[in-house]
């Protein structure tokens, strides 16, 4: 295999006395869908923030596409191909859905016509086509999460970081979501996703990384991971121990 697309090397993040990430070293290969799971507060979103460049890690480095991007600002990382969604959605509330997505598309082109076309494509792809001209503030939460994905996709990322975008869906809707992520991967995008719903994670991801208390607990095939007693105690609870 060639170099992984993303690697974190001994990444630490401290908030005052609290250690949100401690010595996290993970890697994500090209074309993979990797699930990042773990208890609430384990440091998953924090790790996303470090990868996307919202914060500089207290310690450690982040290698993307063979280059050390630790010192780069978020915008620059986006230009290099890291797209992300926010767990607590951050839509541009006074802009329409399509305009939200155009902002993303503008990283790759400055020709408005192209950006707009791209945005429409992405919206259709995410099933938000009919909502294109609605103000983002009028969307319901699940739509906003889809908008997050659409926006990130419009930046044509190599790596897409999805932070709980498939929550709050009925199981049937979740299946559509799963298909969507697969389609994304099929266009050549590598996906690193956080999700708590095992019904979604299990069938979707190629590999799962479990964080607990800021550290990598286990990683491996999803079917193996969910059988791991450590993961069951820390994360899944008894029901899933049998159910999975």
């Amino acid at each position: 295999m060639t170099t992984p697309l993303l690697e974190t090397r001994g990444v630490w993040q401290r908030f005052g006395g609290l250690i949100a990430n401690s010595d996290v070293s993970i890697s994500v290969g090209r074309g993979e869908i990797v699930g990042l799971i773990g208890p609430n507060g384990a440091g998953k979103s924090t790790l996303f923030n470090l990868i996307a460049g919202v914060l500089p890690p207290t310690q450690g480095s982040i290698i993307f596409d063979g280059q050390d991007v630790t010192a780069l600002p978020a915008a620059e990382r986006c230009q290099r191909g890291i797209g992300r969604t926010f767990q607590v959605v951050k839509s541009f509330e006074t802009m329409t859905v399509i305009d939200n997505v155009i902002v993303g598309a503008l990283v790759r082109t400055t020709v408005m016509r192209d950006a707009r076309r791209k945005a429409h494509e992405v919206l259709e792809f995410c099933g938000l086509g009919p909502r294109a001209n609605v103000l983002a503030s009028d969307l319901v939460p699940s739509e906003k999460r889809r908008l997050e994905v659409a926006r990130a996709l419009a930046t044509e990322p190599k790596l897409l970081l999805l932070d709980e975008v498939l929550t709050g869906l009925t199981p049937v809707e979740a299946k559509t979501g799963v298909e969507l992520v697969r389609k994304v991967r099929d266009t050549g995008v590598t996906v690193l996703m956080v999700e708590h719903v095992m019904e979604i994670v299990m069938p979707l991801v190629d590999r799962a990384i479990v964080l607990d208390l800021g550290k990598v607990l286990v990683e491996g095939k999803p079917t193996d991971v969910v059988r791991d007693p450590k993961v069951i105690t820390a994360y899944l609870g008894d029901r899933h121990a049998v159910g999975a």
């Binding site: 609430n40 384990a42 009028d138 699940s142 709050g168 199981p171 979740a174 708590h196 029901r239």
Partner: protein, 234 residues
């Protein structure tokens, strides 16, 4: 205890729920389910007074509460945990919880429900001084429920409480809901995780595009073939 009668609510002319009627009896756990955009949240908002119904009535303990200001409805014993939680982001966990008991300020036992809250969510006790906005997603959900409990509601309304919660805790939250009911409260819960929810619920309603599609006891609903196909994905 709660009776929603033919309530219609619209957003700038766009009808989100129309002529929805539901009943919740004291001591029940009632689950409301339905697809995205079916109007579940709107229903809760209409009860809580966050949105004003265009027509229909909402009665609580025999008094009409539709049209009342939201804070009055809260003070009458309905606590509402909205989908987006609405914590006070820059206040500490402690202050968020204290504000929950604002209605009981000056009373000696204002912090009484705190024991229950910490028993249900010990994590909160560890994070008392942290600002709410820096909590992880799951922790925020716990705080939102905890804050609602501090208002000592008789009816607790939860909008998708399992969202963003780790599997182990989802169970715990549902168990907590059960314990909350056992502590004497009534619970109206909107959930996508129907199977888990139906396990603890007494009755359920299914909404579809703003109307009640189906209602019945939890047991009936969970074996209904249509529901199994359309909502449980089985």
């Amino acid at each position: 205890m709660l009776s929603v009668h033919e309530v219609t609510t619209a957003y700038q002319g766009l009808v989100a729920i129309s002529a929805v009627s539901i009943q919740v009896a004291k001591g029940e756990i009632v689950c409301v389910a339905g697809a995205n955009g079916a109007g579940k949240s709107t229903l809760l908002k209409s009860i809580a007074g966050a949105e004003r119904p265009r027509s229909g009535t909402v009665s609580f303990d025999g008094t009409r509460i539709d049209g009342m200001a939201q804070h009055i409805i809260t003070s009458r014993g309905i606590a509402y945990v909205p989908e987006n939680r609405r914590l006070f982001p820059r206040l500490s966990v402690r202050d968020n919880l204290r504000l929950g008991s604002y209605l009981y300020r000056g009373e000696a036992d204002r912090e009484a429900p705190l024991d229950l809250v910490f028993k249900l969510f010990p994590r909160l006790q560890e994070r008392l001084e942290q600002r709410a906005e820096t909590l992880s997603g799951g922790e925020q959900q716990m705080l939102a429920i905890g804050r609602a409990l501090m208002t000592r509601p008789r009816l607790l309304m939860l909008d998708e409480p399992s969202q963003g919660i780790m599997p182990k805790l989802v169970d715990e939250i549902f168990q907590a809901v059960k314990r909350i009911r056992d502590a004497g409260m009534t619970v109206l819960i909107v959930e996508q995780r129907m199977s888990e929810c139906l396990e603890i619920a007494d009755r359920a309603y299914i909404l579809q595009t703003g109307r009640v599609l189906m209602q019945g006891s939890a047991a009936e609903i969970s074996v209904n073939p249509d529901v199994r196909k359309a909502y449980l994905g089985l």
